[in-house]
């Protein structure tokens, strides 16, 4: 896929829903330009209310966090790995002043050469989205069955079934889904990214991937994307981005995510939990305690009436 430029899977008609193929998003901040076309496209296609037009105060971010009305959120990370130790002007300059003539110009001109100078400041954009977990906390916790798994493996909230109990909100390990407050349209229900299921059924690509000008968001078959992601990480690491890694927690109880990310640095900086867990893993110990307590209380109540009557 890489090398096809902007004419890859993002612009093609597909039949993934009919073929029941697992699909995914691969979001790559190393090519994101922070244009927010994905946010706008998502809102326009899905008719999601705006987030207000004030900056967060930290950057060009006006959405802050994923929520009931923010299904794509472009993060603006200003990373300062060694604040104050500013290295200026390393661009295009020899890294080692002792050897101004480069032995291997190709590798030194690359990011590897520049990364050696350890530029402490880095501006990263990452378009965050619902992860569409393999084991989804929201889906498991939903008492109405409003949240379902689609043919393509995504997690969908059926708006007409959701009664707004709010339990999915605290069950999502990524803090994605939220209940939409009054007075917004359709208030009271829980909302999150639909993976543009309506578009996918018609063979169209999700709106955010469709509009992404740099293919920072790639839509496609999950297995293809995972291969593509691994390849991209390797490429970046060879170019000197030693902290490039995939964020796809497959070894935790979430068992991997359909919308995975390439990240530079640690997941915490992106507000991503390093080891997300599906809350159902806590059920067994909690229910054991509950039932033991209940029967203990009953036994004591009987004993109280038996011995003190």
């Amino acid at each position: 896929m890489i090398g096809e430029g902007i004419q890859s899977t993002n612009q093609r008609k597909h039949s993934y829903v009919q073929d029941r193929v697992e699909v995914g998003f691969f979001t790559d901040p190393s090519v994101c330009i922070g244009c927010k076309a994905c946010e706008v496209a998502c809102k326009e296609w899905n008719q999601v209310p705006d987030d207000g037009f004030t900056w967060s105060g930290n950057s060009y971010d006006n959405t802050g966090h994923l929520g009931a009305s923010t299904w794509r959120h472009v993060m603006f990370l200003e990373q300062d790995r060694q604040k104050g130790n500013q290295i200026t002007g390393s661009m295009g300059l020899p890294v080692d002043p002792a050897s101004p003539v480069r032995t291997d110009p190709q590798s030194d001109m690359s990011a590897a050469g520049l990364a050696k100078a350890e530029d402490p400041f880095r501006w990263v954009f990452l378009s965050d989205v619902c992860k569409h977990c393999d084991e989804a906390g929201c889906l498991e916790s939903c008492p109405t069955g409003a949240i379902v798994r689609t043919e393509v493996g995504s997690v969908l909230v059926q708006n007409d079934v959701c009664n707004g109990c709010g339990y999915c909100v605290v069950s999502c390990p990524f803090g994605v889904i939220d209940r939409r407050p009054e007075p917004l349209p359709d208030a009271g229900g829980a909302f999150k990214c639909t993976f543009c299921y309506d578009r996918q059924k018609s063979g169209l690509v999700p709106a955010c991937a469709k509009v992404c000008p740099t293919e920072s968001i790639v839509f496609g078959r999950l297995d293809d994307l995972r291969a593509r992601g691994a390849e991209r990480v390797q490429q970046l690491q060879q170019s000197g981005y030693s902290d490039a890694q995939l964020y796809d927690p497959r070894e935790t109880s979430v068992h991997g995510i359909h919308a995975f990310f390439l990240i530079l640095g640690e997941p915490e900086a992106y507000g991503l939990p390093p080891k997300p867990q599906i809350p159902t893993i806590y059920l067994q110990s909690a229910w054991t305690a509950a039932i033991a307590t209940g029967f203990g209380a009953a036994v004591f109540a009987f004993a109280a009436f038996l011995f003190f009557s």
């Binding site: 929520g67 130790n85 939903c142 008492p143 709010g166 229900g189 209380a297 009436f305």
Partner: protein, 330 residues
Amino acid sequence: MADTNNPASEQRLEQLREQAWEKGVVTDRGVNVAGGPIPRKAGYYGQPVVKPPVWIWEIPVYFFVGGFGGMAAVIALAALAFAHTDVACTAMSLAVLAAIISPILLILDLGRPRLFINMLRVFKHRSAMSMGAWILTFFGSCAVPGLIALELHTLHSFSGDIDQLLRFFAGFFVAGSAFFGILLSTYTGVLLGATAIPAWFLHRVLLPIHFGTAGLGSAAALLELLGHRIAPLNAIGFFAAAVETALLIWLSFDKHGAADRAIHEHSSGWLIRISEILTGPLALVLRFFGFVPFAALSFLIGALVSRFGWIWVGKVSGSDPESVFAAEGY
């Protein structure tokens, strides 16, 4: 601004120029920008990693009402077994009261109350909320006929076989209410424990024990305040206050640093602390010195404050990105 007459600062600028010329880079610290334009906050600008609960007052009040209602049915069954029919009748009235108020509170809490019936659309054992909806439904369907049969039997409205049948129904439905009552008072702990909120899931074993005990103590306290000053209820009151005291000690030892600091710090920490003292040591001491109504009142207030406290803990903990990162280790 530096002193323009200071030769040292001029020298420094010369030095920087030299360095820039020779090395192409200036590696010195420059001005310390701590607190500068790039905020030092945990995670992504201190934004929450998980979402805090959206629940307000209805859910904690429901926890309280469902807690005492469920355990009142247990006390009713025990009282019935040992021929305290008057206590059993009052206790079943409390259970029915809870069975009526609880659904109203739950429906009020919904974002879309008109769709409340969707709660019974599916049965999902992996969703504590779904289980709770079913438990409450079964509890109500047992408590209401249970109370009616019990009252009719006690008042001897009918005679002969019909009375015998009523007696059987009373026993059957009160036993059913007690069974679902046990689950009703304790499942709420599971509801909070099986979530992504660090301060909740780290205490998923303590929460059902606490909620169940608080329910049992509240039911006994209410019965005592309604005039049933009998020794078994006093014993239950002692037991509940003693367990709550033990839980207070457990919670003060079972700390997880930043992961569950919402329980020990902030306003949420104070709510937990106040409720612990009211249900635990204070209720115990008051009961020990024979101030039974005060002990009962102290326990009831504590049990109510505790439910608000735990929801507030969830709000604080869920909004704190550091607590989520710290909880990863547990």
